[in-house]
Symmetry: C2
Subunit: 179 residues, 2 copies
């Protein structure tokens, strides 16, 4: 038996564990296509359109610190917690359950998440994730995942917390291309 | 009359001009959804799957230096030239016209485009744009557009050409979130 002292066993009564293990198979990891299947089968999006492969790829990249393009159960749980928060946030704005929110509501949401971005950057972000002048659930989540992933990558390099980072070209590409 | 000396008039015998104007309408600019329509109607993708909205959004962002989320005819022509190059490149590798290429062919293509990225970054990029272990035309183009846009943004700030850039957080978000 492999030594397992002190390690947290994956919680067998966690309902997500069933979906995850059924899809992950032997290696215990899932890629973006499997993540999409997992989130669709668990019914996470409810009445909203299921997540696109593109959004699932960004979800994987957000937590993929070793660049394998895959996700284990611990990362999956971490993702799931974040997704629940974003979904609640989205539903708070989408009172009529239309599946989309207004640009100014997206601004409010980004501010509420604690990000401090200039009006110019905010404006660019909102234009990028809009469709016909509104922001749909899948794009809202893609935007939230991306903002968190980029901010995490930046913060990890901003060790003195000065709000600036000196990037070498290759590192810049490494932490932006996959997201 | 507005002064127009020296300015190049949009070439009326350019076949793309017809597709563009029909869709752009009065303001003479197109957003990502209109670009998608324009590229689909012109049959640019040929036997390949037409571009996704996601890829069209990155195309707009690549040339959208004023952050309007829109593209005029001059930018459209610039995009079109780049797209033709990428398409030729892709078809050179996709000899059997399957619509997808191998990971190592994607590596070769990125190197051939003149980008100097580490094996780790290259590996991350390829994982990100693969589907079932292969890279499809739409993803290949999305990756090429993104790599060019991020490199352009980096280079524009690397005024001394030292290969490093000092990014403030807001500027980092501004030049990565829309791409």
């Amino acid at each position: 038996y492999p030594a397992n002292f002190g390690a947290q066993p994956p919680s067998a009564n966690d309902p997500m564990w069933g979906y995850f293990t059924a899809i992950a198979g032997q290696d215990g990891e899932i890629d973006a296509e499997e993540l999409q299947k997992c989130l669709t089968q668990s019914g996470f999006s409810g009445t909203y359109t299921p997540f696109s492969l593109e959004t699932c790829r960004i979800m994987i990249a957000m937590l993929d610190r070793d660049f394998t393009g895959k996700m284990g159960f611990n990362e999956f749980k971490e993702l799931f917690t974040a997704l629940n928060g974003w979904k609640q946030n989205f539903m708070m704005f989408d009172q009529d359950r239309s599946g989309s929110v207004e640009p100014h509501e997206m601004s409010q949401a980004i501010n509420a998440m604690g990000y401090r971005v200039s009006p110019q950057a905010l404006n660019g972000i909102i234009k990028r994730y809009s469709k016909g002048g509104r922001i749909f659930f899948d794009d809202y989540v893609a935007c939230s995942v991306k903002l968190r992933a980029l901010t995490d990558n930046f913060r990890r390099r901003d060790t003195m917390q000065q709000g600036t980072v000196n990037f070498a070209y290759d590192d810049f590409i490494l932490c932006t291309m996959a997201i």
